[in-house]
Amino acid sequence: MAEQKVKLLGFWVSPFVYRVIWALKLKGIDYEYIEEDIFNKSPLLLQLNPIHKKVPVLIHGDRVICESYVIVQYIDETWPHCPLLPQHPYERAMARFWADFAETKLLITASIALCARGEVQERAVKQAMEAVEKIEGVVKGKKLFGGESIGYLDICLGWMSYWLPVWEEVGGMQIIDPIKFPATSSWMNTLLHHPVIGDNLPARDAMIEYFQKRSKDISESDWFEGIIRLHLQP
């Protein structure tokens, strides 16, 4: 099974897609990348992921897997060399817990902070920083979340090292204060200098341009209010 053809359906600026790219590259798995325009979804995407209609989608032989963290775990279990998740069940549970925490408490609040302004942005930044404070405690004293080598949690949180600084610039705000969060800042730097991560990132200028437009469109949309109500504490 492992030797069957691998394809990845992605979008050039999606941090979720990059989780899968990094996992594949770390394990030295050959794959064909297929770029998808998420604003003009192809029949292929709609056929492969009819429920969510999103990327990333991994195609392995005749198998189709969706959802980035499901895909990363599938990759880890199908190609067990260079393991991403730790061996011990308790360490694995901690990795999964913190990946879920960062997704629900940091990624969402940071993306609200990117798009909102004024009081809402201030609240979002404050709550994002509270989340980073907890992450700081986890990474303190470690080179990487995975220890000496990149692991599952580094991959899941990897967007922080590159997307978050872009969002800070576009949003005119700061979440990662290097004085408040020295361990997190150091980790971000270590990750960016790792060849697999550093050599596999979208172009920064193009990202700035993309998020400038995208954040404006989101802030003007009629569903942004709902996202704020759902994900931001009052």
Binding site: I51, H60, Y90, R92, F97, D100
Partner: protein, 229 residues
């Protein structure tokens, strides 16, 4: 070997029930610690400082929180009666469907129960769409896990009992037997499985609890709409 397993739960939480069911299915001895969520114990706050919620599994003094994380931990620590399949692709499918059940099915059905008016109508439409996907996924299996209850069944299990409670309280047919025959049949099979049937809070207490939640939601939505006049 001295294994100490404690489960911090409440009497009614469907998230904690997933863990009760998993422990019972695997025949793991554990001590249940019931929490009053309106008056959380210092121990709860110590074991789950980040979310301050139940369920919390404490294994030999080490806490694990978040029901999905706990289920995988249990499955990896105690290998008997596996909850997740062996094959990586089947495991990926189970994780995908469990997340779908949590993020889409549960949210839409909860909204269909707790909301009113247009929001309720929209939630029912979403719930019906989501249930169609689930119905298709059943593919003539007895349980999502196949012949035995598995990870996805435990994730969705709340629906097997709470579904009819919601329907009774709001008078809405959420899982229509004619529209969703496989899902309906799954609900019966799951609810009647001995471990599930013996580990479900009393129905009358649940009705009182969820009626109270609905009443509170209606009261707060009508007071906010009247104050905007």
């Amino acid at each position: 070997m001295g294994e100490e397993v404690k489960l911090f739960r409440s009497w009614s939480s469907p998230f904690a029930l997933r863990i009760v069911w998993a422990l019972e299915i695997k025949g793991i001895e554990y001590e249940a610690v019931f929490e009053d969520l309106s008056n959380k114990s210092p121990l709860l706050l110590q074991y789950n400082p980040v979310h301050k919620k139940i369920p919390i599994l404490v294994h030999n003094g080490r806490p694990i929180v978040e029901s999905f994380v706990i289920l995988e931990y249990i499955d990896e620590t105690w290998k008997q009666a596996p909850l997740l399949p062996e094959d990586p692709y089947e495991r990926a499918m189970a994780r995908f469907w469990a997340k779908f059940c949590e993020d889409k099915v549960l949210i839409s059905i909860w909204s269909a129960f707790i909301k009113q008016g247009k929001e309720q109508e929209e939630a029912m439409v979403a719930a019906t769409e989501n249930l169609k996907f689930l119905e298709k996924e059943m593919k003539g299996k007895k349980f999502f896990g196949g012949e035995r209850i598995g990870y996805v069944d435990l994730t969705l299990g709340w629906l097997a009992n709470l579904g009819s409670i919601f329907e009774e309280i709001v008078g809405l047919k959420i899982v229509d037997e004619e529209k969703f025959p496989l899902l309906y049949s799954w609900m019966q099979d799951f609810a009647e499985a001995p471990i599930i049937r013996d580990n479900w809070p009393p129905r009358d207490k649940m009705i009182v609890k969820f009626q109270a939640l609905l009443d509170a939601a209606i009261a707060s939505s009508s007071s906010s709409s009247s104050s905007s006049k």
